[in-house]
Symmetry: C2
Subunit: 172 residues, 2 copies
């Protein structure tokens, strides 16, 4: 089970970044996104809408208090942070674990998160987007195999094209 926890969310301001985190988690092979912080029905609805149209079994859950999610997790915890150890040094060790809670911070991450996490992992030690950090982490974790993932029960599918757009509609 691969779960992404989006730490903290402010209605309005974080709408698009949180949505991009969730879309990345789904497209790149995670099972679930857990949202914490302020409850934002529009984020939840838009993710559910994507799953309904584009298929797969990705789910979204909300829990205001992130400590309950982290405290109740049975498995390893990976916190993505620019202050952590380089992904390229730790990924082969992390790949051994199939149950991962991947924590993606927002603006200000409480110090406890660093302590509660099994791994604090950085994607470059530079200011970067939490969205890119998640994408590169997942791409390294799955060694690229996630790019060809199939999504069952899709109502919409893209047929890749060199130029232009081709969409296939209808149920599997």
């Amino acid at each position: 089970m691969l779960v992404v926890l989006r730490l903290g969310h402010r209605v309005g301001r974080d709408l698009r970044i949180t949505t991009h985190v969730a879309l990345t988690a789904r497209a790149m092979g995670c099972d679930k996104v857990m949202l914490s912080g302020e409850k934002d029905e529009s984020v939840i609805a838009s993710i559910k809408n994507v799953v309904e149209k584009w298929g797969g079994s990705f789910t979204v859950e909300y829990q205001k208090d992130w400590k309950k999610i982290v405290g109740g997790w049975r498995g390893k915890i990976v916190h993505l942070t620019m202050y952590g150890e380089p992904v390229e040094e730790k990924i082969s060790e992390i790949r051994k674990f199939k149950n991962l809670l991947i924590i993606v911070g927002s603006e200000k991450v409480p110090g406890e998160v660093y302590k509660m996490s099994t791994y604090n992992i950085s994607i470059t030690s530079q200011p970067i987007s939490e969205v890119s950090a998640l994408a590169v982490f997942l791409h390294e974790y799955f060694k690229g195999s996630e790019l060809g993932k199939k999504f069952k029960k899709a109502r919409i599918k893209i047929i890749p094209q060199a130029k232009g757009k081709k969409i296939e509609r209808g149920y599997d």
Copy 2:
């Protein structure tokens, strides 16, 4: 020369996503970001501020009309779009080129962009963030070597830690 063109920008609404695109471009080895659409001084200032503190020679430029940027480009053009050909099938061909304009769309991309681009490339054929798409593309292009990139003249540097934060200050 590796340049990212952010196609279209709406002041306010796109502030954070455009900033995340630019930070990803810088952290993952590009030379420049070109912004088009509405002029947003706060995005430009925040990117310049990151370069000043964190080092390197990344630049940011603004040109309202994206067609002038694309039309004047001497080199190959890669447009990242969910409708394109899978990155994993085309990347070894693209890696041969050292001059690339990488186009990252916003909400609605004009049809001409698909025609003017040398490659239309998808990162999964699923709804995903343009920020993740750029990150995975660059990670594939550089085969991971971008993760260890050094930034000269940095006033701030992170010393990677398993727990906690360690920052080094001062000039190179």
